[in-house]
């Protein structure tokens, strides 16, 4: 009986996910999903898939919301629940860490002069805030409508599956570089990222690769919207002052 129910339901789950069932059909599916975890899982996956369709439209369309719309929206909701003062400690993990820091600071105050404890707390707060700013910056750079992206690929003919990306924004000096599927560098070598633009080539940073082959660098260019002509990631001895050797990943501007 249940198997028949499942089979009947499965045949309509795609239409269910797309909202294309008649009311009575939808009610029957809803009823079945209440009692069947397997079908519920299937339905959830199809619903996720259906709700990706708007992103295809966003990707294909040249239209963008006007810049002022975001400010208007935030202004429209802001008076309801002003929260600016809570801005930097809302994340549960940060809040927890902060609570323990404050407790530690208070405890220290029992033993030391209050001034000392407060300055210690201020210092720790500043460190936490910096960490937080760094993460937000990465997201700001890689995940915005202003983001420009260059894709770094292995040299032609190589069988490496590694790839990398350099993200920048015209309105920010911050640049994020990431690479994935890289092997750990050999011996005393490290992955150096070299960026070239009109003024010459400079070392953007050294990429530390984790166990899954992923690494990420955030750095600040000397001005907003830096325009590069070439990016090279080269495995070379630690502390190298200039690029040398074949890059493991490279991107070059066209033209």
């Amino acid at each position: 009986m249940k198997e028949q129910d499942c089979q009947r339901t499965r045949e309509t789950l795609e239409a269910y996910a797309l909202g294309a069932l008649e009311d009575d059909e939808r009610a029957a599916v809803d009823q079945h999903l209440k009692t069947c975890a397997d079908c519920r899982r299937q339905a959830a996956e199809l619903i996720e898939t259906a709700h990706k369709l708007p992103l295809a439209v966003g990707g294909a369309s040249p239209l963008r919301p006007p810049g002022a719309l975001k400010e208007r929206l935030l202004a429209a909701v802001a008076p309801e629940r002003p929260v600016e003062t809570r801005r930097w400690w809302w994340r549960p993990s940060v809040a927890l860490a902060l609570v323990s820091l404050v407790l530690a600071a208070l405890f220290a105050a029992w033993n030391a002069r209050l001034d000392d404890a407060l300055s210690q707390e201020r210092d720790l707060r500043a460190r936490l805030a910096r960490l937080q700013v760094q993460q937000e910056r990465v997201l700001e750079v890689v995940d915005s409508q202003e983001t420009r992206k260059a894709v770094l690929l292995p040299p032609k003919g190589s069988d490496s599956r590694a790839y990398g990306k350099v993200f920048s924004r015209a309105d920010m000096p911050h640049v994020v570089a990431m690479a994935a599927r890289l092997p750990q560098p050999r011996g005393d070598r490290a992955y150096h990222l070299w960026l070239t633009r009109a003024g010459g080539t400079r070392l953007a940073g050294v990429l530390t690769v984790d166990s899954s082959g992923f690494g990420l660098i955030l750095f600040e260019a000397d001005r907003a919207g830096p325009v590069y002509g070439e990016a090279r990631l080269i495995e070379q001895p630690k502390g190298s002052r200039r690029p040398s050797g074949e890059p493991v990943l490279r991107w070059r501007a066209e033209g």
């Binding site: 795609e14 259906a50 295809a56 990707g59 919301p65 929206l73 935030l74 429209a76 760094q134 992206k149």
Partner: protein, 203 residues
Amino acid sequence: MEDGIQGAATDAALVGRLGHGDLVALGALYDRYARDIYAVAAHALGRGAAEEVVQDVFIRVWQRASQFDAGRGSGRAWIMAIVRHRIVDELRRRGHRQAGVDTIDELLAGAEDPDADVEEQASAHEEREHILEAVRELPEEQRRVIFLAYFGGLTQSEIAQELGCPLGTVKKRTRLALQKLRASLAERPVVKVLEKGVSELGR
């Protein structure tokens, strides 16, 4: 989401933060999805209506954040369900649902390949490109059916009537299209890698 820092990058965590009155989270969700919502609304309803739709949607997201249940689906699916309702309601009110879908269909059927345009590629989000590609790979008649359902709010029998083909054909195309899309989108390597990278910055 076991990790608060990594969770901050997911839609579900951002929606969760709205419940605490977090405007930064609302801004982050806006940055992620306003472009898609605006594009769907502008193509389905016209640019004049699109701004209002975007604003309405995010106000609803803000006001209803407490109703979001992360156990039942992603933050994105929850937001897009609100978008779809808003757009289908408006098309229904105007009484010509297919017209809005036609414009979207034409846009997606366009031969223009985003990869051919360097500027476009540079600014486009990785996942968007991936989804667009997967949708474009669908046979035209399958894409048409799921668009009429999703963007136009038509039921399968209405679609059969609209296309002048048997209901059984519509059902078959619906199933094939969404299954194929799900299979093509099963992997999203870059976004995962990126989330991981961001979480590691926090350590």
